[in-house]
Symmetry: C2
Subunit: 228 residues, 2 copies
């Protein structure tokens, strides 16, 4: 076993030990439009349980009975230290808080989520099933010089469904980490997923999702996800 391979394995084990996974909602304008949602005046966020994390090779994503299962490709930040009450204009503080990156798919039981929204109920069930957070290998921080200028994409059965630049984010990372850390202290190992661009849609058992990230037009190997 190579040194590199062993490091990946232990990083993945530690992802699953995240004390929380914080997810930004409605952070790309065209995605808000496609779901007929209201544009938020400030970032809002919700939690997925660490038990929903699906490490590379651990698939497939399990579709619960009766669920309209949607994909949402998202850039994930792995937090490297405790962050509390970060100021929104503290760009250096925000970047220093990031230890590394990963790609992720925020799987969503869309019909259950729509019903929860209508009834004013929590999103936790519709977002929190086992296998609802496929992640890639850890992407070293050095591979992403500017997280607001990368392309993230997702294909289903080799057809492109999502493909946009993170420069379309409504709220950028310093603002997100500020708003989150003024509510809940971020801890080393926590994961923040940063919202999904337009193009979300349904998958059914047997479909193959592939997701990834391009920096300067070139795929980052560690950021690739392939899951059934």
């Amino acid at each position: 076993m190579s040194l590199l391979f062993r490091r990946s394995i232990s990083s993945m084990a530690s992802l699953k030990k995240a004390s929380k996974v914080v997810c930004i909602g409605r952070n790309y304008a065209d995605h808000i439009t496609e779901l007929s949602s209201a544009r938020p005046k400030q970032p809002f966020f919700f939690l997925k349980p660490a038990s929903s994390i699906l490490a590379p090779g651990e698939g497939p994503v399990i579709r619960p009975k009766g669920v309209d299962l949607h994909y949402e490709v998202e850039l994930a930040l792995i937090i490297g230290k405790q962050v509390k009450d970060l100021e929104a204009d503290d760009e250096k503080g925000a970047m220093d808080a990031i230890e590394s990156y990963a790609m992720s798919i925020d799987m969503t039981a869309r019909n259950a989520q729509n019903e929860a929204k209508k009834k004013g109920l929590p999103w936790s069930i519709s977002k929190g099933f086992d296998t609802f957070l496929p992640v890639s290998q850890i992407i070293p921080k050095s591979a992403i010089p500017d997280p607001h200028n990368v392309e993230i994409y997702l294909t289903v059965n080799d057809k492109i469904r999502q493909n946009d630049s993170t420069n379309l984010m409504l709220f950028q990372i310093p603002r997100m980490l500020s708003d989150i850390s003024k509510v809940m202290t971020l801890e080393k190992g926590d994961i923040v997923i940063t919202g999904t661009p337009k193009g979300v849609g349904s998958v059914v058992p047997g479909d193959i999702m592939r997701a990834g990230i391009k920096v300067g037009g070139k795929d980052i190997q560690e950021g690739k996800i392939e899951v059934g």
Copy 2:
């Protein structure tokens, strides 16, 4: 340092390492009435982050600016092993899954929660601020022969605000653990809080909350919470 004291400290440290805190909503009929909520046909639940846990002696609870801060006293279950797809009629399986108990106060930013409900947004922010989950010491399992037949109570400045028997729960523990574990696998160390009886209300800085649990009319020492 006595052996007993050391054991409590290490148990508390492990509570904060819970991989998730799952919270049952609307599980006592009179509490549903007082908040004018709809009675659920099945248990529903949401997540609080482990970062919201406030161990004994760590107070006070911090009220965020502009927040109408409500208390909700709840019996907490500490899970002792992995639980997945438990059947609702598996009472033995449910009881075997419980390692110990604790008392807890599910602090809630009620105005933020009401606004989230109206807008169909997640509850995570209104439930997830730092210090929003005061807990007691660990209560040994043997101290609670029947978790559906204990009294839980909460006082504010020595006035009784909540005081009811857990026999009023709409959904009992086997049903809760079944429903949760069919969505998200429960892991050793996870915490499940089981809903609050009637009597919730506001506290302001300076108020002293005391909570506890009585078994056969007698207070369990480990279950006492005192927090500003």
